[in-house]
């Protein structure tokens, strides 16, 4: 065997989450009433565009989730020895990025280091200058003259490749759409362009075009340059940004997974049973939410940190230790953040339990458990969904803040928070190192913005008071008005022809 698969704790939970999501999708597809709001999500242009970006992020996160330990060659010994380093599929794909480590800081697209170094010349004299990078732009003979042209050339190739693959996707999509609707290809294409398709494919394709082009450019350039520069120890910032995505996603999703049982069970119980159960649960969440969250998290993380440091024998790799710390962070965040959703659910359940169909169920002697699971739970699911999607972006940001404060993820784990934390010193340097912060910011911004836009679309679709026919209705209204003005002119003409 060339490798030994490793399933870290968070990996297992992510696999579980993916499975739950798949079951949920299967369940929704079977139930017409649940499918309807999701169709409305599908009709929202901003929702579908942001979903496209999210899917990209999620696939990177999933690639980064498949962990293993590669085997180490050691000639004579027949027994296999595996590396202590845990790698993921993403690491393998991005091997050039991961392994091409420079000495220290270098700016994006630079061929030289960012700091002067004393270099001993062959004749023994010493000289301070910017040394050439070991990997970035190493293929160039004379960077000063060739660099710009080379970058432009590679970027153009990247763009072309991106466009080419986009065209491929477009063709595949329109062929499959045309086959499904049994329409001609040109008709389908023009329908996509006009935005007359059920799902706004034009928005999705526009997003895809942008993404494919930038991915193409990044791929072409990153093999020969550090496109986002390097950090203090010479690691590629682009690689770090890619690795941060998984951390952000894990925090955003697993925390919700940790929080949901508390919020669902306690919220519904409080609202449904009322009386002393309600009192106890209310006291718990009022107390919990009046303790400053950061303090509670800091205390828990520090305690755990000490425990981990005194028991190093529990972890066979560094990755396992960092991963467990990440998991604990999720649990702690989950334990402290269920109160908001719990309160919402309690309120909704209070309203639902007085609904007449619940009363009717009581009149049939249906058990409490069945009333909760069959009547109340399905009717609060939309709130849970909206809350979790809305919480996601907040949690990604929370991780950044916590890591910045120093109680976040393990220092060996790459995350947006650790990148920003490092940037604290870099920004104070002269000349300033700005690229690490900027790329962390850019990636996080894209992730959070698309999550927020998607959450908005979900909320609109599940909100019964918002009618989502805007596009079509607006069109119709315009048509109505046009028709009216046409009628008016006709009327005037008739009048005009009568009067003389």
């Amino acid at each position: 065997m060339l490798f030994k698969p490793v399933i870290l704790w968070t990996d297992a939970l992510i696999y579980l989450l993916v499975m739950v999501a798949l079951v949920f999708v299967w369940y929704v597809r079977r139930n017409e009433h649940m499918l309807v709001p999701w169709r409305r999500v599908g009709h929202s242009a901003s929702g579908m565009a942001s979903l496209t970006v999210l899917v990209f992020f999620m696939s990177i996160g999933l690639l980064d989730t498949v962990h293993f330990r590669p085997a180490i060659e050691n000639g004579s010994n027949s027994e296999k020895v595996y590396s202590v380093e845990v790698l993921s599929l993403l690491d393998i794909i991005a091997t050039p990025l991961r392994t091409r480590v420079e000495k220290t800081y270098s700016a994006p697209f630079a061929a030289h280091l960012y700091a002067r170094e004393t270099i001993e010349l062959p004749d023994g004299a010493q000289m301070r200058e910017f040394p050439r990078l070991q990997f970035g732009g190493a293929h160039l003979q004379d960077p000063a003259t060739q660099l710009t042209n080379d970058v432009a050339e590679r970027a153009t190739t990247g763009l072309a490749l991106g466009l080419l693959s986009w065209c491929l996707v477009l063709t595949l999509l329109s062929v499959s759409l045309a086959r499904r609707d049994s329409a001609t290809l040109s008709f389908t294409l023009s329908a996509i362009r006009r935005g007359d398709t059920e799902v706004p494919w034009n928005a999705v394709l526009a997003t895809l075009a942008l993404m494919f082009m930038s991915i193409g450019v990044a791929l072409m350039l990153s093999t020969h340059y550090h496109i986002f520069g390097t950090d203090k120890v010479g690691q590629d910032v682009f690689y770090q940004s890619l690795k941060s995505i998984r951390t952000g996603l894990v925090i955003g999703t697993l925390t919700t997974l940790m929080m949901l049982p508390f919020a669902l069970l306690l919220g519904i119980m409080a609202g449904y049973f009322r009386g002393w159960v309600d009192d106890v649960i209310q006291y718990i969440y009022t107390t919990l939410s009046s303790i400053p969250g950061v303090l509670l998290i800091a205390a828990a993380v520090l305690m755990m940190q000490v425990y981990m440091e005194t028991h190093p024998e529990l972890f066979d790799t560094i990755a396992a230790r960092a991963d467990l710390r990440l998991l604990f962070l999720c649990i702690i965040l989950g334990v402290t953040s269920w109160t908001g959703l719990c309160r919402l659910l309690r309120g909704e359940t209070l309203k639902l339990r007085e609904m007449e169909y619940i009363q009717a169920a009581h009149a049939f002697g249906v058990s409490h458990w069945r009333i909760i699971s069959r009547h109340i739970l399905p009717n609060v699911m939309h709130i849970v969904l909206i809350a979790t999607v809305m919480d996601f972006s907040g949690l990604v940001l929370a991780e950044a803040v916590l890591s910045y404060v120093g109680v976040g993820v393990d220092p060996s784990m790459i995350s947006f928070g650790t990148m920003i934390n490092a940037a604290r010193l870099e920004m104070a340097r002269e000349p300033m190192v700005w690229w690490a912060l900027l790329s962390a910011f850019g990636f996080m911004f894209a992730l959070v913005l698309s999550a927020n836009l998607f959450a908005d679309a979900v909320q609109d679709a599940f909100n019964p008071r918002v009618r989502t026919w805007p596009l079509q209705a607006r069109k119709l209204q315009r048509r109505g008005r046009e028709q009216y003005s046409k009628d008016k002119t006709v009327e005037a003409e008739i009048k005009g022809s009568h009067s003389p």
Binding site: E32, E356, F364, G365, L476, G480, R481, Q483
Partner: protein
Amino acid sequence: MNLLLQIKNLQTLLHTGPAPVMAVDGLSLQIMQGETFALLGESGCGKSMTALSVMRLLPETGEIIAGSIRIGGEDLLLLPEADMRNVRGKRISMIFQEPMLSLNPVMTVAEQIGEVLRRHFNLRGVAQHQRVLEILNQVGIPDADRRMEEYPFQFSGGMKQRVMIAMALAGEPELLIADEPTTALDVTIQAQVLDLMRDLQKRSGMSILLITHDLGVVAEMAHKVAVMYAGQIIEMATREEFFHNPSHPYSHKLFASLPAKNKRDRGLAVISGTVPPLSREFIGCRFADRCDHAWDLCRTTMPGWSEVTSGHQVKCHLFDQDNGSRAPSSVKAVEGTPQRASVLQSDCSILELLRVTDLKVYFPIQKGLMKRVVGHVKAVDGVSLTIPRGGTLALVGESGCGKTTVGKGILQLIRPTAGSVLYDGLELVGLERRQLREKRAEFQIIFQDPYSSLNPRMRIVDIIEEGMNALNVRGKPVSAGDKPSSSERWEVDALLQRVGLPPETKWRYPHEFSGGQRQRIAIARALAVNPRLLICDEPTSALDVSVQAQILNLLKELQNGLGLSYLFITHNISVVEYLADEVAVMYLGRIVERGSMDEVMGSPQHPYTQALLSAVPVIGPDLKREVIRLHGDLPSPANPPAGCHFHPRCPKVMPVCHEIYPEASSFSFTHTAHCHLYTQK
């Protein structure tokens, strides 16, 4: 009389779905000064959209695409929005259906009325205060000087509607649009509000556009009546003419579907089918599909206006000069088919199924941190009643008197504080949840609101099977080899057919059904466990008249077929007269009068019953009656008046009423009342 409002060929579109809905289609009407013009129609026929079009307050998705609305010669549709604001509240005012929702809860009454005065008359300070006081006195708010500084929550429903009227009057409008002004109110309060509106009209000479679905209110108020159906006016006449000689087949059907005492022995006439969706194109008459008199012409040509007598117009081919001869000679609404009189009822009426004795349901009022009980809301305070096998007991009373709580108390959905509920000899009060479950199949409940009584996330089949599964009621197997699940499915089909729905509908979700169909499903769900007693909690009050007739027919049919007993909780007197065998009148948690239907409805003894019956609008052109006015509103059940609960509102109050609650006085074997006017037992 001068012409005040003239609407010509109004067309209003609503862009709410994939196809635009023509909510109002070519509506024309004229309202004279000082006249009350009633727009009558069932829900969804475009009444409210007409009113909102006149005010130009259509929702975002609405659009007026053609027509003109002239008030005093000025076309409102051509006015810019800024000028329109001078019209709203000044020339045209509006009262809405729900007084609870149309007042701002964080502004005092004086502020809200003052807003109108400031906007239209630029009144401020003392002058404004004086004027507010004057208006509030005009609408009959007692102690107006003090109450004008109060907030809406401190007013009762009837008082709130008075405040709404005061607000509408503040601008001294020429036209008042009243959109279902009394639908949310009780009959006694409704009588007060209608009186007030008539009074104000006499004094100020304004016109009223009254929008309602209630024929009784029309008979009380209107000078002219227009019947709306599917976005069009189909009949227009003076009130006398309309009630003497309703001409359109739809109007006929409306009258025929009203429940009444003289229709007891037969089913009510129903209008088959449903109102067509307004998003579709119409070729012929819109009512043709549901009309008994329709012939080919009706399906191909849209009928124009035909004159029946002068001032009485109808849109129907039957009255068309050219086609009249080809029409069936007589237009008479087909009355419902006579129903088999209940045999069970006479046999078993001696046997009682349910006996409730001295039932009390108190809700504690808690205060402070430790939730100390400081008092009780006595929602039900010593109610006794019996329901015979196969019979119907109607429980009548105003909202807030505790009718619904009695129903839930009997079902043990709310645990009674005291008293006993004997069902077929078994005491239900104090039974364990598990023991109670075994008896649950015997008694079931049907709720008022068909929209909230079905879980929107469950299919019909799941809804109906839920009770069967929970109570382990299995349908009779069709054949010996049948699996239980398939026989259950068979049972669901049979139930749906029984309530008049096709069995295929069981795979659908509740939102795909209309209000009447949902109520049928709710009935099917209750019937699924083979109950013997059904508690019907205002099952028809949320439904239109024609749909109500269908549900009442169904209930009657089920009673005859299955020998069910009903406890019918309602505030609708005509439904009581149609359906009930016995009547109990409830006031503030206690039953004040009970007896057989004829006794209570024919010769009411308690002053409250008398007032209640007299307040019900009588449908007919010229029946003038004496309305016994009740002052004020229902007192709070947390703090009922000492002595007889009714004494603060009673027109025949005596000193003794302030002190002692009266014992029962008997008038016959079945008829009793609690009143000091009569000799006590």
